[in-house]
């Protein structure tokens, strides 16, 4: 289990224990975190699971694939250097305690 904290634009904070290998998008949708939609189901095809990763932890994450970088061009809220798609981030020990902020809107 990997502990992940989601902070929504409203300030609402949810901390969950996520099973190894599950994506941060799945963690959000199965735990009622509304700031992530994940409309495409996790195939990196809709850009509705945009999140901002705690900058100090960026180095702990695998770098985004070409597909993720291309899809990040479609996010509805401001894209920042720490923007990632939650469906592409999978729980592992490297991510323990990660905090992600969610944007104002996903659509």
């Amino acid at each position: 289990m990997t502990q992940i904290t989601y902070i929504e634009a409203s300030g609402q904070t949810t901390t969950i224990d996520l099973a190894e290998g599950w994506s941060l998008m799945q963690g959000a949708t199965t735990h009622g975190v509304d700031g992530i939609i994940g409309e495409c189901g996790g195939s990196c095809a809709c850009a509705t699971c945009h999140c901002y990763v705690d900058e100090a932890r960026l180095g702990d994450l695998p770098p985004p694939s070409e597909g993720e970088l291309a899809m990040l061009e479609n996010v509805a809220s401001e894209r920042r250097p720490n923007s990632r798609l939650a469906c592409q981030l999978k729980a592992s020990t490297a991510l323990e305690g990660l905090v992600v902020h969610l944007p104002e809107t996903q659509e």
């Binding site: 099973a19 290998g21 599950w22 994506s23 799945q26 949708t29 199965t30 009622g32 994940g38 409309e39 495409c40 189901g41 996790g42 195939s43 990196c44 095809a45 809709c46 694939s65 070409e66 597909g67 291309a70 479609n74 999978k90």
Partner: protein
């Protein structure tokens, strides 16, 4: 002794009691009839869907695979090949790129469902199949009208037949293979037509696409196009049948969405959870995996029973209740992970528009028959006929 045979007509008709026993008593079950393991709990299916390195699709993803197909389509390949194929196609299926289709889809819906004006009893399949084929033709850029290569009905009939399997032989029968060959031949003719005179449509783009200077190989173009037509026509049509079946069966839900069409999207999501037409897909293990005390061996096939995961009480309270206010996030009605359905956005859009227009013409209806003929398929589930009456 408990058994689970995905080829059995009883499972076609009602898999849910078996699913419950699988989840509760045999969460990692070897089915001799299917010659594969069955995973039925939500969490196990999600985990497997995420782990494509272990649960590979490259040996085919349909429970009963079509000959020569595995490895050449999106659903039957793994990253990185999967990602490059998908990268060529998915742009066209993104929600914001479908806005231009909204008006044509509504026009199709008005034309097709308008035929029901004054009807008191009808088979919903007659209208849903017309609607589905026309929508898919518009979305993919298949030749229509004066340039049509074949009658629309033939596309629908072959798409439906090629996903079926024979309950006795537990394999594709000659009629299913013939339908598959028909579809490949049709796709091949469309591809040749669009290569000769490209247009601004999905198949033209795909047929001429290059990746790093290399054209896609012809088999990939042909089988991916074949699959897009099959998946589009069969899955959209099958899901519409299931949605109509649910609304015809549950009076309260039907009255709610007819009175307030803004509730349709929530009712669609709940239908995707409750009894999605895409019930079971398969993977193949790339290494040994031990789960719930069973060791599945490298090379074994594994069925991911999405339809069971969606009824898992460990994930959804009162899972056997069709509740349109549930908002079942994370459901497996479109699968999940890298292979989650490509067509989620167009499916949601088309079904919503279809039922908005259907309900304007037929605001109240119910099922005529108690027992329905169910499609013989190890992968998909929908009724072959759905007679409705307004009386």
């Amino acid at each position: 002794m408990f058994s689970f045979d995905p080829y059995s007509p009883a499972v076609d008709a009602d898999p849910f009691p078996s699913y419950k026993r699988l989840r509760d008593e045999h969460p990692c079950f070897w089915s001799p009839e299917a010659q594969m393991w069955i995973l039925s709990r939500y969490a196990d299916i999600v985990s497997a869907g995420q782990d494509w390195q272990t649960y590979s699709s490259a040996s085919g993803n349909l429970m009963t695979e079509l000959p020569g197909r595995a490895g050449a389509t999106l659903g039957s390949s793994d990253p990185p090949k999967h990602d490059r194929l998908r990268g060529l196609i998915q742009h066209a299926f993104m929600k914001r790129n479908l806005l231009a289709l909204e008006e044509p889809i509504r026009a199709v819906a008005q034309e097709v469902f308008g035929q029901l004006q004054g009807a008191t009893t009808f088979d919903f399949k007659d209208v849903s199949s017309q609607f589905t084929v026309k929508v898919l033709m518009a979305a993919l850029g298949l030749p229509m009208g004066d340039e049509a290569l074949v009658p629309e009905q033939e596309v629908r009939e072959n798409a439906v037949l090629m996903v079926q399997s024979d309950a006795r032989t537990r394999a594709k029968g000659p009629e299913h293979i013939a339908a598959y060959n028909w579809m490949q031949d049709y796709a091949g003719r469309v591809i040749a037509m669009r290569r000769a005179e490209p247009r601004n449509d999905l198949i033209s783009h795909f047929a001429l696409a290059e990746i790093d200077g290399d054209r896609l190989d012809d088999r990939e173009v042909l089988l991916t196009t074949t699959t897009l037509i099959m998946a589009g026509v069969e899955s959209l049509g099958g899901f519409m049948m299931m949605f109509a079946y649910n609304l015809a069966s549950f009076d309260e839900a039907r009255r709610a969405v007819v009175a307030n069409p803004a509730l349709l999207p929530d009712a669609i999501e709940e239908s995707l959870r409750f009894n999605t037409s895409a019930q079971r897909f398969r993977r193949r293990l790339m290494k040994d995996v031990t789960l719930h005390g069973q060791t599945m061996k490298e090379g074994d096939f594994v069925c991911l029973a999405y339809g069971s995961g969606n009824r898992d009480e460990r994930q959804y309270p009162n899972p056997d209740v069709y509740n349109i206010t549930r908002k079942p996030r994370g459901h497996l009605g479109f699968g999940g992970g890298v292979h989650a359905c490509l067509g989620t956005a167009i499916a949601r859009l088309a079904v919503k528009i279809a039922f908005e227009e259907f309900h304007k013409v037929v605001p109240d209806y119910r099922r005529v028959a108690d027992q329905l003929p169910w499609m013989p398929s190890s992968t998909f589930r929908s009724p072959l006929v759905l007679e409705l009456t307004t009386a």
